[in-house]
Symmetry: C2
Subunit: 137 residues, 2 copies
């Protein structure tokens, strides 16, 4: 949790708890998931704190915000390049290795991306996982 120091953000207990909860977490939790997980230890913690913290952790590059479901933000402490495979039924989100390559040069040559400062890419693959396929048939 030395990462926090580098950002210049203050080391508050709530913030450390959130960061700690996220560390190594592969569940792609929503703000509410995080709130529920941590609030037992911090019964006074407000929802706004969770949102504010996630926002600043994101701004400082410690986590990524995922746009996978419209209607709900999800957060990922794994900031390495990787993509997501989502089951539209059970909503489980699986990490995919970064074996997908973007032909950025090809796209740039199309001229559309000229002048665009690229910040990040999200590749979401939607489907039905084996378990749900089995269940529904």
């Amino acid at each position: 949790m030395e990462k926090l120091k580098k950002t210049g953000l203050k080391q508050t207990p709530q913030r450390m708890a959130i960061l700690n909860h996220l560390d190594g977490n592969k569940s792609h939790p929503s703000a509410e998931d995080i709130y529920r997980a941590i609030s037992p230890k911090f019964p006074s913690m407000s929802f706004a704190t969770v949102y504010n913290t996630l926002e600043s952790l994101k701004d400082h590059g410690l986590i990524k915000e995922l746009t996978i479901e419209s209607g709900k933000k999800r957060f990922d402490p794994d900031i390495s390049e990787h993509h997501h495979l989502i089951c539209v039924e059970c909503k489980k989100i699986f990490d995919l290795p970064h074996e997908i390559r973007l032909h950025q040069k090809a796209m740039a040559s199309a001229g559309i991306m000229k002048g665009f400062k690229i910040l990040g890419t999200q590749i979401n693959i939607y489907g039905v996982c084996p378990e749900c396929s089995r269940a529904s048939h």
Copy 2:
């Protein structure tokens, strides 16, 4: 607008107006955008109708739902394979040609996608467009 007939959905005026508004529309409108555009002609139209209609058009493959911004659904009548370039400042969404190839075989070989019935992929590239870059500096 013969597409509606094929789906078996009933041809209501509201539905046709929505479909008509979407036809050829490259603006990736939200439900509210669509409501605002159409309600002058149908002052009695309810928001629920917009949502219901979009849902059934989606279910019948006439439009796609985009998950680009968390907090807001967007809809695209262009159901061909293509991706999106989003300016995180002005929120404009640009279409990208499908020159991005997924190495599906490579991924499948990783075993993770085994048994997954793939429904669709969304590739969202986030950045700052030339105009906003200029404005902010």
